[in-house]
Symmetry: C2
Subunit: 329 residues, 2 copies
């Protein structure tokens, strides 16, 4: 659960109440079925997660409906979280992941089959929620999001074993895997509560940029592990086609590093690799560049929000974006 | 490709033309992407299959629009095939299948990850086709179908290793895994070409019963293998929770057989098992009972079709149903 400071603003109290209701809606999505498939979905949903997609959806809604969030929006706010968790269930099967949110991956508890089908279940239930909301344009846009997500996964799969990924490819993956769903979540909240097309576009741009910043921050925080763990994690990332932004920066900075990283990922021994990688991170200024990227994305997100009328809810949305930039410092 | 006899009726010629166009639409669904994910989907789609779901969709459309099938329906007719193939891609990963349509399973050619994502891709592309058709009730009903399919898969997963499955459970799995998609395919064809609600209900009942007959026939044909292959296949089926109707009939007929089949599926040696199973199939009259079931389902399907106005297309739909009953003899 996201931490909401008590008495911070009335909007924080309202959001806190929304989030309690959200947990109920999420639980309802796969309740009353004790079989492995539903259990795997429930297990992952109950293991936490920051619920940041529902939060931005609910805040976008409150930008246009300050007093009360209609039930319909509360239900729509679970969609982003359900789709996100569906992709995690499939990802852990695809990547043979063992740990998720500090617990054993669902596939280790309930099996690969239950994880694949549990992902399918969450996805279909999410789409049924969108369908029931009766706003056809939201169905079209969530299907576009899902198409972009698969495209990103497809690109990652091609990138397995490679360390010479272009920044263009990196950002296309981030666009599909992270930004697209943030975009949809704020669109759903705003659109359902009366945002006009220009405001919807502003919200979508906000969501997209926040999504980028969110992923870049995640990549940056990866570098705060202990050096040995970083070395291991880079090789795993190469194996899965999911290199982080600062590491890509470092690899592009130092000729020869890409080939060494790829060889190490194939199992060749290279004692100096972690040291050389971290040195290249330093030399390339990757950390400062990542922080700059996050700042730029945050600024763009805040600018996009200007088409939305000022309100406590808009301020809270802006705080979500600013918090990412602050954590990156 | 289904065999259509030349000059059988004008409807056969029309259907033959529709099917050529269908192959183009199916290919378009995942064209122009040479990456593993799309390739796995393309590989499976190109490996044949009877295209029976598109056929009944197109014929249902021609019951109400004899002269010409609108492009929209042609596109909708691929949905049943795409969803069916999506489930096969996931099933082969879940069940570790090695052969599909007499070729190596897609997962062996492109990997498990590409198969899971290829299934996701086909599913989402199918839903995008439904969305683009602009008939919201078809979106709601395909999502219901997908929910029933996952429910059936979920039940199968629970039944793994069990040989004492009830007929009720068996039919619930058939309902979700096969009948539901046939139901939707004929609904989509009829509804888009002007069928009224009563006619849609008739078509859905027809599709459901044809789906049941189709699965029962498949189960029956399983018994025509050589006896050793049958023994092996029954143990595999128990492992996967997918026992066939005649074998279930035989197991329920002879006390003690369920426990022996389960033990053998766990690896215990039982030389007499295949012999005793086949004897129980004979003694229980399972083959005759399955034929009777198929006949009954065919009769029910034909009766449901009565609400549709007589036409060559209706006759052709009836022929599809009758052909199942004839193959069972």
């Amino acid at each position: 659960m996201p931490r909401v400071r008590d008495g911070f603003t009335p909007i924080a109290d309202a959001l806190a109440a929304d989030l309690v209701a959200l947990e109920g809606e999420l639980a309802d999505l796969v309740s009353g079925d004790q079989r492995k498939v539903a259990s795997s979905a429930r297990y992952l949903l109950a293991s936490g997660g920051k619920r940041v997609r529902p939060v931005v959806c609910l805040l976008a809604a409150r930008c246009f409906s300050a007093a009360e969030v209609p039930n319909e929006v509360l239900r729509l706010s679970v969609v982003g979280e359900a789709v996100h968790n569906a992709t995690l269930l499939h990802d852990d099967v695809i990547d043979l992941g063992e740990t998720r949110r500090a617990r054993p991956a669902a596939r280790l508890v309930y099996g690969n089959a239950a994880s694949v089908l549990g992902g399918d279940l969450l996805l279909i239930e999410a789409l049924r929620v969108v369908d029931a909301a009766g706003t056809p344009v939201l169905m079209s846009s969530i299907l576009d999001v899902l198409r972009r997500m698969i495209d990103a996964e497809s690109m990652q799969l091609e990138n397995r074993g490679r360390a010479d990924i272009s920044f263009d490819d990196y950002f296309r993956v981030v666009d599909g895997k992270t930004a697209s769903l943030f975009e949809w979540a704020v669109e759903a909240g705003g659109r359902t509560c009366g945002a006009d097309e220009e405001q919807v576009e502003g919200l979508r741009a906000f969501g997209r940029d926040v999504g980028y910043a969110f992923q870049l921050l995640d990549d940056l925080l990866d570098l705060t592990r202990d050096p040995q763990a970083i070395g291991k994690s880079v090789l795993q990332d190469v194996g899965m086609g999911t290199l982080t932004w600062p590491v890509l920066q470092a690899i592009q900075h130092r000729p020869g590093l890409a080939a060494r990283v790829e060889a190490a990922a194939r199992g060749e021994h290279d004692d100096a690799l972690t040291h050389d990688l971290l040195e290249a991170v330093d030399d390339s200024g990757a950390v400062a560049l990542a922080r700059q990227q996050i700042d730029d994305r945050t600024d763009a997100a805040l600018a996009a929000l200007e088409v939305v009328p000022p309100s406590d809810a808009r301020e809270a949305l802006a705080s979500v974006a600013r918090a990412l930039a602050e954590r990156a410092r």
